[in-house]
Symmetry: D2
Subunit: 388 residues, 4 copies
């Protein structure tokens, strides 16, 4: 079956970026449960990320979070990654964990705080220059908790000003990726709460400003694949932050809460040509493994994205288009569901074997003893923590 | 107090448009409860709308819904309105109540249906030419019920094409007002589900394409005043469809479910200068009086908008700005709440008396006997029904 | 594999009740799209329901809705069903479509209206006596639209009084099944809005009062399988009304919006022994085929329930219990997902062949020409309409 | 006006309990912003709580959280409270901040962890014996993050067992107050997610087991006043945890997000006689002052509850009942809104003066210099932190 081979080729080319922070401890406001073997510095995070790639073959890069992953020598960090078989990816700025940011960072009413936040963003671009990263991902926790607390429009003005300054600072191939989020940690207004706001700002900035869709950052009932399709049509989808949620921004393993939704999202990506490298869509994970072990959690996440992608690739688009054109509601839905209901695990196992990998990454990792090794070795020091 | 006089002046100038359909019977999918005295034709609707204006003094126009309000002679309809002391306002197109629109109107996969829908939209512009209406309001029920049913992007292409054709057809002063809605009657995708989609289309169309914010058309948790502030900042807010909701698009009396939200929305309008006539914001009601009497329901709605506007006007913006600049969270919130907690009914009663009106419109209407009169007179014929 | 045979046996024994109203026209408040071949009386509905059973083999009963399905001779209706190979099932009362019910039925402030509603409920029990139905299903649209409109507690008193009267009227084997719904058509309070309310009333009534879980009647984010598990543990789950939704009570084909959720629900049913006939759980469909053809819509729905049930039956409960006891989060989740990711369509095809059915019910129905036949024959008369 | 005096009497008798933890630092998972002058031990928390009472006159008790407020000598703590003019109130257990509770406390699959949690609950009862507290408030963060992770029913069995053991341990006048919460920190199932679950467990436990309604713990769209009215009718409402939210469990100042909702809740309490001391309803605040100063935040919260209560007391219940009985939808709503729209601040100022207090508690606190004093004095040591 031709479709099957084409699917395998697309799956072989797929790249899923891992977040360095997924390997550190994370939690809720109520409690961060510490785990054994957690990395104590960026180099150990990279080692763990490389391990995920070693078992899955499709996770060849790791995103950094600054200042969590700040090091003196980014060349050394990049070499460590290369030695481990992966590369450094997106740089994520962090302007939400300083006491000065209590009322916001780039939208803070105080110009001195805004300046401080902007300086951090510039520093992130400096790091990109050194790591060779293409993307600067910006998520702002900025917003307000109480009606009247600050001026909604004035904050947009300040935001626009900061974004323009950062965009201006980027060099030729670098991109600004703007993330939106409905709420949390701000509980009344958020300065970039939805895709429309991110889109409008990116439009004004220019070609290399794109929107990041975090799958957990929407209001209940939001149709995410619609947003994905719309942004793709507009050429403004830059990246995904994959995770899943039942309630708010739960940051669970992608595909764990609603695998059908993940499939629908990836189907829109596929049909818009978004799986091709030249489309420039970054597929990143952004999750918190609060109670489950982190490396297997990442492996499972990568596999879940692969499975959803495989199903999306198996949709018979000719049959679908024909049913749609005929107004055959049940028929068209049936074509889509036919792919979704297919068990793609054998296909992926086959692909892994062709790639020289164990067909069962979870079992292979469990057998590897890596988890026990790091638990034994990484004792003492300060475990890496987390923020988003 | 200067603020009080300025508030009264702004309130005196405020105009709230009534929807002709609010006077007809409406209901849910489960049941439409018929009421006595309901209009049987557009002329009787205009008479009822005029009655609302007679008691409130700030509802001088009535929006039409085509084909519900289609008549042979729009000149006559306009004259009837003028004789009753009001004028014809926005023209609302209806491309959702024909069997042909089962799978959509302007986004239908069938080009013949799309053509039919477009012809209706053109016909609405023809009516505008005759009524002298400034605004064409477009709400599309278009969407899909099942994943795969139709191509999300293809539907956007069709939508863009139709909108461009309609926009092109408008003459110099006429505007296209695009309304968005999260869901219903479509239950999987809606082709214009959120402000971002409406905004992006309007941006492409041009200056005289604007977004309509229906206060009941959002996902749970959406911060509507943020959207309002954002659209005002972008010069893209064209109109409000006021109503209120506890759950979905409940279409209850505006201000009945969350009067504080209505106040916050109107505060954003006020501070952006949106209350001024030259801002071009149309303040419309769009409600269903399913179980309550319709004319008093409209009077109460107009009063609720007035009360929220009055409170918004009483906010001490200098004190607010100072507290915001100082980062005084509780202080700034307190300034806003101070206005909200004010009882503005005496001020509005005073204003009405200055305008030669009864200070209590509800009581005045009840005393007028109009309700009893129409119940007695409007017997036989077919009561006006409803759609949205 | 033993599990596979056990699964087939359970699937062979499963019975899914069809709603007579699914074969009539339905729609939203905006529009009811008429379809060809729609039944014009209860006998034609039964013929259509029998057709669904003929192709699926697991839909041997049809629920009635009174007064929509009221006939002079229920014996004749029962014989028609028997002749077609099915039987009459649950009786659904309707106290929401009379003008008198504008402010409620059994909770109406007017005692005369309450009496009328109660008389209807008694009449439904009379019909049960004649049809031999076990279950009386009660869904009340009662509630209020505006704060203050009525007294919340007084309405509960009236509700309790009516339920007690109906329960008293039931004979030995008959059951009262109380359905809850968050909202619609009431938009402020609903008198039975959640499972807790239904449960509390049923507890007071007695053993044969049970709760009905309609899968579309919850607030966003509600964990339905938790409710199912809880009610099963309490012996208070009486029935399901299956359908699916993306937003509110969308009444889409069950399993169409979130097949993973349906699987999780059925897994709770399975592990609590709820699939056994003696558990007394009625599995009913309650859907609206607004834009898709009705008979294939019902066939697809039955198949979706079967597929979710099959997956639930394939869960390796021993492995699951072991992983749960060990606190192995990813392992336990993996056991569940392993079953969910299995393609059970071959197993169901095999089962159908063993039952003497076509392995592909959708294709078999399409080939049968039944749809074309009823479209040709059922011309004239008044098509069956719908309410819920 | 008689109603006015009756209202003042009820307001004079109202008691609002403060949470000791509101005076410590709190935050989101992203960041806890430290504030100056924050208490460093339970005695300093009590001093701050007493300050709130000194300015408001209606906050005479403070709830403890164990182990946050564990001290060696509860007699000394009680005396410190008495000396400051207040008393110790509800004891809140904490079984969510130990690494052992990663997979739950009383519902943990591991019996040793369950035993540990139960021991803590017993220890809390011991503390109650010493503090003379009436209420033990139990909130369990227990739940699961992934489908399959644990057995929903088995966890209910464990929960029931633990609750029975604790209830058994209580002495004659002590009460068990069970709190429910939709989600967070558990993201798939929560073991006590809704009022129905809490109610069912309390029913089984006995008379002195009651439900706590935290106003921020519901699914979007939940009608909280309905739950309040229902629990009051059943005699099962034990306490409120007041706060407010726009999205999830935002824990903002009560009345800040939806003052109209707070009014509706308190109206149900009032009409059910719940304001009387003998009704045994504990009115507690449970909030996080993440970005605003804590003592003024608590003062504002107390005032917001007072204002909503005052409005609820001003509702003309005779007129309301008459309009309800007449089926006058707009009239009945109008009676309610008439009270809500009243500015009750003058009445409360008058009441405070009668009670020998400054009519403006916020201004009086600001003038008092207390905030500056604690900021200067409380330097060094470890600031009190927070958990819920």
């Amino acid at each position: 079956m031709a479709g099957r081979e084409a699917a395998k080729n697309a799956l072989r080319a797929q790249e899923i970026e891992l977040p360095s922070w997924a390997f550190g401890n994370s939690g809720t406001r109520f409690k961060v449960f510490a785990q054994q073997g957690v990395p104590r510095d960026p180099f150990e995070k990279i080692a763990d990320a490389a391990r995920v790639h070693a078992h899955t073959g499709v996770a060849p890069s790791v995103a950094l979070h600054i200042p969590w992953d700040a090091v003196d020598d980014y060349g050394a960090l990049g070499r460590a990654a290369a030695d481990a078989g992966i590369r450094l990816g997106t740089v994520n700025a962090n302007v939400f964990q300083d006491d000065d940011y209590r009322l916001g960072s780039v939208t803070n009413p105080d110009p001195a705080v805004r300046r401080k936040a902007l300086d951090h963003l510039f520093a992130c671009v400096d790091i990109m220059d050194r790591t060779g990263s293409r993307d600067l991902k910006l998520w702002f926790s900025d917003g307000t908790n109480y009606p009247g607390q600050d001026d909604i429009r004035a904050r947009q003005d300040r935001l626009a000003e900061a974004l323009a300054a950062v965009y201006e600072r980027l060099s030729g191939e670098q991109r600004l990726i703007l993330e939106y989020k409905l709420f949390e940690p701000a509980f009344y207004t958020t300065d970039v709460p939805d895709w429309g706001t991110a889109y409008a700002h990116c439009l004004r900035l220019g070609e290399r400003a794109k929107v990041c869709v975090d799958t957990g950052h929407h209001a209940p009932g939001t149709n995410i694949e619609f947003i994905v399709a719309f942004l793709l049509r507009e050429g403004k989808l830059g990246a995904f932050d994959f995770n899943s949620r039942f309630y708010a921004d739960d940051d669970l393993i992608v595909g764990a809460a609603d695998p059908f939704q993940l499939f629908r999202i990836l189907f829109e990506v596929r049909t818009a040509g978004g799986l091709a490298a030249e489309a420039g869509i970054a597929f990143m994970l952004d999750q918190c493994h609060n109670i489950e072990p982190k490396i297997p959690g990442q492996i499972r996440s990568v596999m879940n994205v692969q499975e959803a992608t495989a199903k999306a690739l198996l949709v018979d688009t000719d049959a679908l288009a024909a049913a749609q054109a005929a107004g055959d509601v049940l028929g068209a839905n049936g074509v889509l569901m036919d792919a979704y209901n297919t068990d793609v695990r054998p296909l992926l196992a086959e692909l892994r074997e062709e790639m020289g990998l164990d067909p069962d990454p979870m079992a292979a990792y469990a057998r590897s003893g890596y988890g026990e090794r790091i638990a034994a070795e990484r004792v003492g020091g300060r475990q890496a923590g987390w923020g988003a």
